[in-house]
Amino acid sequence: MKLRLEARPAPSRLAVWAAPLIAALATLAVGFVVFSAFGKNPFAAFDAFFIAPIATRYGVAELFLKASPLMLIATGLAIGYRANVWNIGAEGQLTLGALAGGGVALAFGEREWPAAALLPAMFVAGALAGMLWAAIPAWLRTRFNANEILTSLMLVYVATLLLSWLVHGPWRDPEGYNFPQSKLFAANAMLPILWPETRLNAGLLLALAIVALAWLFVRRHIVGFEMRVAGLSPGAAHYAGISWRRNVWLGMLAGGACAGLAGVSEAAGPIGQLLPSMSPGYGFAAIIVAFVGRLHPAAIVLASLLMSLLYLGGESAQVNLALPSAVTGLFEGTLLFFLLAADVLVNYRPRIARAAKRA
């Protein structure tokens, strides 16, 4: 008796939605085992991870606060991933976006511009900068055929170093005793708070708006459709005259713009200035969110909340259970592994082959 994989005549819709759930449950199970192995009460760990972080209004606000950049970036990345354009450099594009938006904030914040004018200017600058940083791998791919995974990734390191140079040097706060940080942004350059006494800001609204826009683009716009076709069948797309170059540009720029916007949200939100590190790895976590969310805008929102909870949970586990913070990264990777494994159920059916030959 052997377990065989039999191709399904058509992809199973049930499996498409069940796979992420299966993956989540499997990750949970692994978590239980890991915690027990480390001598921690798994129920206490479960509580620290999933309940404690959202047990207060501040916690719930933090959940949405952390989910905003994730859903924003993942939405942009998903547009590209659908067309097999693999933007892995969102972290660098986020950094450039924060840089540009921050630059505008620092340059014009003092000049009494109203927030209604300054904030949009910051976001536009951030989106453009993110797109610029994504345009480099796009250009290298379309012009030189260079693999965009590697080029976009290398640029992440370059972006981080660029930010570091700026906050250590030209953009350093002159009143800051030469510490690597920019001036704090003026009040008119900060995102308004949505929920009093928390840190939840209007960045969430922006993220949701982008998600809605992306959904429209993918579902309703001809170009969005063509990109999906290109991802599913490059041959068919080519035959239909769909330009792969255009898809590469669109895919990369969409991701870059969204990452840039997320960067400005962080700078004008919980951070409030430019620091040598503007993101705890959102650009990479968003890749997982995009996959767990099946590249679908609505599911991405849910996936981003789950990922956000994983972050907060890891931190809470550190505070309350003395577990190392690396446990978060471990779970992120595990979740993605299980998802990819569970994905097989979409296109294949597990069958137990009997000893007798098949007819």
Partner: protein, 305 residues
């Protein structure tokens, strides 16, 4: 040792983790599989080797276990990609993230532990030869091992029948299957070999280069190794050149600083990454050369039915 010799020795050492990882990945890609998880595999190899070296006091045992651990981890990748036929890019990414997280998690208690690492070894007699002696015969044993690996990989791929079979699998798995070769099994073997090599690269870092464990200590070398394979158009000798060039670029920024150059250190630190991007562009530009040298089925899922 004079300055020049010291720099050369340092550059070779700096390039060695790249040699290990890139040679391994080259074999994997020659078999038609793209494994983006090299960074995670290197870190797992590093942490495993360090822990074993710390607990047993035997760094060579650590190196062996490091390679083994990474090979086992790459097995998970193999199952998901080769048996469950998942997307190779996404799975490789997942492997990297998982490896980074797992190594950080497991290695926490070992962050400031000190071990007796594997030190450079001066070959008796030969290393006393003037000029060439210190240049060629006073390296870390793992550096010599990496060179031996290069020879082995080159001979295997281009001079043995099994190497030919592996390359055939990478070019056209359907044809190889038609002749009767077990494509999936060969790919599994390649993936695990690649994993073991990445593990060796990580182990070198943790047990010889800077005997220590720090989370994320590979600092992007796994990704650079991936780029190197493309840069080398899948030829082992070019991998060696690329790896040592990279090693020296990384060191060059410290050289420049120590010599008093006034360029901001961050801009100098960008050099290896910018160099990778530029080199990738130049190499990839010749699409024909890429097509001729890249295994034809690289990255594509293989469906036996």
């Amino acid at each position: 040792m004079d300055t020049f010799t010291q720099i050369v020795v340092l550059s070779l050492a700096a390039g060695t983790p790249l040699v290990f990882a890139a040679l391994g990945e080259l074999v994997v890609e020659k078999a038609g599989v793209l494994n983006l998880g090299v960074e995670g595999l290197m870190l797992v190899g590093a942490v495993a080797s360090f822990i074993v070296a710390a607990k047993t006091g035997a760094p060579w045992l650590g190196v062996f276990v490091g390679a083994l651990a990474a090979a086992l981890l790459s097995l998970i990748f193999g199952v998901i990609v080769l048996t469950l036929r998942a997307n190779q890019v996404a799975t490789g990414l997942a492997l990297s993230l998982f490896g980074i997280g797992l190594s950080a998690f497991v290695g926490r208690p070992y962050m400031s532990v000190v071990i007796e690492g594997i030190k450079p070894f001066a070959v008796p007699v030969l290393s006393d030869v003037p000029v060439a002696g210190k240049l060629l015969f006073a390296h870390n044993p793992l550096v010599y091992l990496s060179i031996a690996l290069f020879v082995a990989v080159h001979v295997f791929l281009h001079r043995t029948r099994s190497g030919l079979v592996l390359r055939a699998v990478g070019e056209s798995p359907q044809s190889a299957r038609a002749i009767g070769y077990p494509v999936i099994a060969i790919r599994y073997a390649a993936v695990m070999f690649g994993g073991a090599c990445a593990g060796l690269g990580g182990a070198f870092l943790a047990v010889a280069y800077t005997p220590s464990w720090v989370e994320g200590m590979t600092a992007g070398r796994g990704w650079i190794a991936l780029a190197l394979v493309v840069f080398a158009t899948w030829k082992p000798w070019r991998v060696m050149i690329g790896a040592y060039l990279f090693g020296s670029v990384t060191l060059a920024q410290f050289q420049a600083q120590a010599a008093g150059a006034a360029v901001p250190s961050e801009l100098l630190a960008m050099l290896p990454y910018l160099a990778t991007v530029i080199v990738l562009a130049i190499i990839s530009r010749d699409a024909t050369a890429i097509r001729l040298n890249a295994p034809a089925s690289l990255g594509k899922a293989y469906h036996p039915e």
